[in-house]
Structures are given as structure tokens and as C-alpha cells.
Symmetry: C2
Subunit: 83 residues, 2 copies
Amino acid sequence: MDTIARTPQQVGAGIRRFRRQKKLTQRDLGEKMHARQATVSKLEAGEPATQLRILMDALAGLDLELVIRPRTKLTAEAIEDLF
Amino acid sequence: MDTIARTPQQVGAGIRRFRRQKKLTQRDLGEKMHARQATVSKLEAGEPATQLRILMDALAGLDLELVIRPRTKLTAEAIEDLF
DNA sequence: CCTAAATATACGCGAAAGCGCATAATTAAT
DNA sequence: ATTAATTATGCGCTTTCGCGTATATTTAGG
């Protein structure tokens, strides 16, 4: 359900997962957050220079939020999530 | 303990909170993540154009991770965290 | 108080974002 | 197989990063 992310790639993958779960296209999400489809594409690809604003706007558009917390010891299940 | 973030400002505030908890200066964190003290300053200030790479490097430097999850209904306690 | 430490801010630079616009390339559906 | 839908990429442009370097400004200690 929740997604753990430690790299830009994992952040992008998480966004994509939730977007698809809500049956939205990149264009749909882009409109909600006033960004181009191409920008959503780069975010989901894990482009490391993506701006924080883009990430937070995407999260808002998907009704998601971030939690910042100490790194957890990875369980077998969590390790799967990283791939 | 964990920090909820829905805006760049809240992300920055969370980073700052954890950094101070670990008794690190912006310079210390900057060295760990190969970034300037000034860059850490902007991240913590919630500069919305901060790059995702900078955020993830800071989290790694503080041994933190992100969780992406559906927005929660805010409890009284969580509301406090947002300020 | 005074000073040292920590944080915020500034300038010039090269690199790259996100933009509008447009089009490949890939995937899904019939 | 075809076609439609979705996603990835490209170009020229403006904007802003993060960098090195340096300096205000604020905060914490003695």
C-alpha cells in the first residue's frame, strides 16, 4: 500500500503506482497539477533534478502525502517493494 | 517522531528537525551529501525548486527515508506537526 | 556584552529544468 | 493487424538550480 522511497527512482515508481491505481493518465495528472505530461513522465522516470514543487504538486494531485522517518531495517517484503 | 509533509516547506522543516536531533550543522550535513551549506539552507527553507536529488541525498545523510501514502485525515496531533 | 558558531544571502557561471509545441515510440484495445 | 491511447523524446526559450567563493545576519556561549 504505502511506498518506501530512498532514491529519486523509487519516488518516481511510487508516484506511478498510485497514479495507475487511480486510473489516471500522465496527462490527467499533469492537468491537475498544472504541469505538462512530459514533466510527469520525467518525474516518474526518477529524474533526479526534478523540482520539489513538481513532486509535491503530484502528490497533492493524487491525494497523497509524504512521511519522513528514520530508515527501517528492510523486511523481505519491503525489499521486494524496492524493485 | 515521523513527520508528515504535503508542501516543500513542510519537507524542509522535517529535514531540519531530524538534522538538529542528530546534532549536525548544515555544514556537517552538506559534507555528508556533497552539497554546500547554502544548498542545505535552501532545502530546509522549503525552496520549491530544490532538486529531488538534493532531498534524497539529505535523507540518506540523515539516515531517513520517505514513505508515500494516501493522505490521512488529520488528527489534532498531526495538525500540530504541520506548524 | 562580546565573540564565535551557525545560518542566510549574494554574484557569476555552467548546466539543466519546465514551458509550449510537436512528434516518435510504445502499449492497449478491438 | 490496425488503430487509438498513452508515454517518451526533441527543439528553442526562459528561468533557476547548485556550484565556488564570499559575506551579512542571526543565534548561542562564555
